[in-house]
Amino acid sequence: MSNTDFVLAVEDLTVSFDGFKAVDKLNMYIDKNELRVVIGPNGAGKTTVLDLICGKTKSTAGSIKFKNRELTRLSEHEIVRAGVGRKFQTPSIYENLTVYQNLEVSYPKGRGVFGSLFFKRSDEVVAQVRKIAREIMMEDILGMEAALLSHGQKQWLEIGMLLMQEPELLMLDEPVAGMSAKERDQTAELLNRICQNRSVIVIEHDMEFVKKIAHKVTVLHQGKILAEGAMDKVQANEKVIEVYLGH
């Protein structure tokens, strides 16, 4: 595959689990500064696509190029260090650490064993934690134990932990699941803010929320792309209405 200007170029990506093709010859291209939303019915392969990109699942065939660098052969931590961040479906934070510590642990310095043993909490680190905490609206509760946060705050904290690493591609799996209406609005604003200088892929079911954030929408069905394009076009697509949105 030749080099492209896309941040992420997925081509002919296939993964089969015991013969079942969860993702089948998928092609997808993400632009710089694009916010792409992936929708589709349960079992369409949305989460599997994210798993493949971040290295949690190994592909059977095909290629994933991030800034023209092949990701399929890298291990998880190498993919993260290349600049890809991944948020999991259920909030995945360190409950026994404080908000501050959760963010600091995610700071991309001192990532080796000895680097972490001699890691110094410099002014830069503190400033970065502050900046991100402000972004995710948690500046006032840095000292709080993460276990005590509300569900919505946990989701934001995990997004903040990813932002600490300044990734160029951010992948969020259902970031507003279980959030109140107000929290959803705040999250939409947050996502619109943070996609200014990076590309974002979001998996989401909430159509109202998708409308607020999506630049482009990809509809997955049975591991294949059913439709792709602007939200209103996709919503009007006959096939999409049939298998997913309903009449």
Partner: protein, 386 residues
Amino acid sequence: MNETLSKILGGKQGAIGLGILAALILVLLPLGLDPFRLGLVGKYLTYAFVAVSLVLLWGNGGILSLGQGIFFGLGGYAMAMFLKLEASDPVSTAIQSTPGIPDFMDWNQLTALPWFWEPFKSLPLTILAILIVPTLFAFLIGYAMFKRRVGGVYFAIITQAIALILSILIIGQQGYTGGVNGITDLKTLLGWDIRTDSAKYVLYYVNAALLIGCILLSRYVLSSKFGMLLLAMRDKEERVRFSGYDVSNFKIFIFCLSAMISAIGGAMFTLQVGFMSPTFIGIVPSIEMVIFAAVGGRMSLIGAVYGTLLVNAGKTMFSETYPELWLFLMGGLFIAVVMFFPNGLAGIYDKYAKKVPFLRKLSEESPKARKAETVLVETKEAGVKA
């Protein structure tokens, strides 16, 4: 420098806790106990090295090793091999058919010293072996398992199996290892008789100082970013991996460090008790050591030492009167601790210290300590702005 120092001491509260422990084992016990009882305490304190290593590995890292006896034993055997060679000089072994080799080799018809015994003629090489052989062994086990993401119960079972295999191997290779009796009749260290009362006092103090040193080292590790990552890994390993860390390397390192600390304990055991045998390697001692750490509090380095002292004192007292009941009692103790006091003695102290006025004063720092993080952040922030 001051920051590093306070990291090692664990703040004011940590320094006080360590001060009390140091006063107990360095002053009170040597003053209050006769040489025989103090010797027992010295022996228990060598187990405390293992308990401390388990606080690092299990309490903070969430990796339960049921084979720490392996490393305690390797350290102990390395020391014993040196002492045995010193005790087997040609003059005192003149009646053997091959003088100059350890007696058990002679009984097993060996006529020359096996090659792997050669380095143990030198004390510096022996000390190196005590520190490096167990660490290297832990590295091999850790590399093989953590790189393949073997963890949890499987890791516990495999370490237990290795402990069993190693003890069987040692028992089976009688000519090379002294077999089931172990390595006995150890007399001198570079000509210094380790069996006298005065030597026992010296060794007791060396042991206590090394133990405190290991606790300080462990404190440093736990207070660094590494320590925070250990807790993070225990909680959400996937999240750590997807934050750009190679999780297996961190696990291998903490396993190696815990092995080295255990090995120092083993070497000090041999010096103080005067022999080493496979009974300190197998499954039972390895599990006992987990119980020491659990009783003391698996998150507390200092608690682990108290846990070890207490359980062993109990063992000595009970097994003198009801030897056959002791194992049941210890099993019951373990179940009780896990069910009712998951943080062991340290947890009980934290919970009830507030009710005693004097102790409350000491522990009043803890809510502040929690806030200190924010204060630190704020002061640093102010510095950035200025």
